[in-house]
């Protein structure tokens, strides 16, 4: 069968354009459903794994999905904050470990996550370079953030304005990069971590400014000064960077227990403790909700898989129509090549050999198409993790 295969190969080579179009048709029809399948599978794996590693979340009542996406993927918006006192409440009587998360801002378009040092142990995040944040204004960047922004320890990041048109609003804060996290292939790679208090400074709940005691009494920024109380106008110089020199001037106005956090990650010490906690939150007058991310995510995936079923049906229909078109192309090609086949037959070629010739041609085309599908699928498989992470993190 070498002869017919060699002829088939020569035919495919001679009709390059036709062969390439056929290969492209097969590759596109096959690779799209395969890629979607891989992406959905990867999405399922990633989102479920992330959810499973987070036993429960406490946050404002409302959409449990928004709360989960906010706490797991730092998605911004759609979730009302809860007061910091909820963190202490979740810790309860030592029933659980509670980690605050506050993610309302971005720096260079990457989410800035205000949290505590416990978060890094909780997520088993390792520092690749530098240290974790130790003082106000420090930040630790995720692996991907460092890679994408080309930042390293010693560099600075500037937080984004919540509203670029609001010139009278809170000024951006320069964050000092003190550490870069090792790659974890989780949304943590795509975030900038700061201490919760730094997040509140970014929000404008805390600030630092020039020492008014050292301002000349004639200074136009002073409005009044009586019995140790100094009142200044908005002309007082506020710091947009926290340094060793000015860190002591930073302070908060108000009760920090009332300051906002987006969500609280709760890890109860046991099933009984978790049930007790859940019972506390499920009272009807509670302003907060207690959710198990895994249940919320599995509900979401049920919907995703239902949608995927429609996509599968669509792929089958497209595949069917492409197959019919291919059959049509082959039949038309056979008609065009009738004389060639007849000549071969008259010379002494069997009908079986002619069939082999046709099968060989289609085999070569399918073979090449399958190689491309395999290469494409491998590539999709290799990048699907990043694509899914990117999709989840950038959907904020």
């Amino acid at each position: 069968m070498i002869g017919p295969l060699r002829l088939a190969w020569r035919y495919v080579l001679f009709h390059k354009a036709k062969s390439l179009i056929l290969i492209a048709c097969i590759v596109l029809t096959t690779i799209l459903p395969v890629a979607v399948k891989l992406l959905v599978w990867q999405f399922d794996q990633k989102i479920v794994a992330r959810a499973a590693s987070t036993p429960s979340i406490v946050g404002a009542k409302g959409s449990s999905l928004d709360l989960v996406l906010s706490a797991l993927y730092f998605k911004q918006g759609g979730v009302e904050p809860v007061p910091y006192s909820e963190v202490e409440r979740a810790r309860g009587d030592g029933l659980a470990t509670a980690i605050p998360l506050h993610c309302m801002f971005t720096a260079m378009d990457y989410p800035v996550v205000g949290t505590s040092l416990e978060y890094f142990d909780y997520r088993e995040l390792e520092v690749l370079d530098g240290t974790l944040f130790v003082s106000l204004g420090d930040c630790v960047v995720g692996h991907k953030v460092a890679e994408m922004l080309s930042v390293a320890v010693g560099d600075q990041l500037i937080s984004d304005r919540a509203n670029v048109l609001d010139l009278a609003g809170q000024s951006p804060l320069k964050l000092n990069v003190v550490g870069v996290l090792d790659a974890s292939r989780t949304p943590d790679d795509w975030a900038v971590f700061v201490d919760l208090k730094t997040a509140w400074v970014i929000q404008g709940l805390g600030h630092g400014h020039q020492d008014l005691n050292k301002v000349s009494p004639e200074s136009p920024v002073l409005i009044a000064s009586e019995s140790g109380r100094i009142i200044a106008n908005r002309g007082v110089v506020s710091y947009i960077e926290i340094t060793d020199e000015n860190v002591d001037s930073f302070h908060f106005h108000g009760d920090t227990d009332e300051f906002p956090v987006t969500a609280v990650l709760v890890s109860a010490s046991g099933f009984k403790e978790e049930t007790i906690l859940q019972g506390r939150y499920e009272s009807s007058d509670s302003e907060v909700q207690f959710v198990r991310p895994e249940i919320v995510v599995r509900d979401l995936m049920t919907i995703v898989f239902q949608v995927n079923r429609f996509f599968n049906a669509n792929a089958i229909l497209i595949g069917g129509s492409t197959a019919m078109l291919l059959v049509l192309v082959v039949l038309l090609s056979l008609r065009l090549r009738k004389r060639e086949m007849q000549t071969m037959f008259r010379l002494g070629c069997s009908r079986g050999t002619i069939v082999w010739l046709q099968v060989g041609e289609m085999g070569i085309i399918f073979g090449f198409a399958m190689v491309f599908v395999l290469l494409g699928s491998t590539w999709v498989w290799m990048v699907s993790g990043d694509i899914v992470e990117g999709l989840l993190v950038n959907s904020r």
């Binding site: 002869g3 017919p4 001679f14 037959f345 070629c349 069997s350 050999t353």
Partner: protein, 237 residues
């Protein structure tokens, strides 16, 4: 030698009927079969090569009864013992000249291509003035060159019989003579029996016999007494 006895043939669902009481072509003879279109000249070649099977009678080629062979045996016999040249050349467009000459070795597993056959193909091409064009495709050749390639393809298996169906039908007068001379020359060199079907009465010089097929197929007597056969052109048999 080719021998046909009491042959009767009819295409299905047609009124065309071919009757041939007797036809004998000796080994090494050069025979021209002439007659108007539709008189059955090509059918005769198909019967000799085993592409068509007679309803009655026998067709013997090189001592073997082609009409009694199985399909596979006829195919193998055809590719090994019979070389065919067609009016439209029928070269394979996607193969170069050398591969076209060697085509019989690619389409039938009973023949195997070897360095010897490749050398022979190159020799034939050289004899036909095609040596410089071995890597070209049919579309890059003139009509005369294409027919020369087709002749090489017909002769590459060193068949005992060469059947040519209007081999000069698509050629200009200068090329017609040249192609026929080449066929004669190669057939004579290898002692091959040559049957050329044509309706061109201007190319009959050089044939040992000319058969007027129109007269022959309607006669009920054998070819020698039917008056349909002449000896060398210009002589009465």
């Amino acid at each position: 030698m080719i021998q046909i006895e009491n042959l009767k043939f009819q295409y299905p669902r047609t009124e065309f009927m071919l009757r041939l009481p007797r036809l004998v072509v000796e080994s090494g003879q050069r025979v021209a079969v002439v007659g108007p279109s539709g008189c059955g000249k090509t059918t005769l070649l198909n019967l000799i090569s085993g592409i068509a099977l007679p309803l009655e009678g026998a067709v013997m080629v090189c001592g073997e009864e082609v009409s009694a062979m199985s399909d596979a045996s006829r195919r193998n016999f055809r590719i090994a013992k019979i070389g065919m040249v067609f009016q439209q050349f029928e070269l394979v467009e996607y193969l170069d000249v050398l591969s076209n000459i060697l085509l019989p070795f690619s389409i039938n597993s009973t023949l195997s291509e070897s360095s010897e056959t490749r050398c022979r193909a190159i020799e034939f091409a050289e004899a036909m003035g095609l040596k410089e064009k071995l890597a070209r495709r049919p579309a890059q050749l003139s009509q005369g060159e294409q027919q020369r390639v087709a002749i090489c393809r017909a002769l590459i298996t060193e068949p005992g019989v060469v059947l040519a169906d209007e081999p000069t039908g698509n050629l200009d007068p200068k090329n017609k003579r040249r192609i026929l001379d080449l066929i004669f020359q190669l057939a004579e060199k290898n002692n091959q029996t040559l049957i050329v079907v044509t309706h061109d009465m201007g190319i009959l010089d050089g044939f040992d016999r000319v058969i007027d097929f129109e007269k022959m197929r309607f006669s009920n007597v054998d070819e020698e007494s039917s008056g349909a056969v002449r000896g060398a052109v210009g002589e009465q048999a």
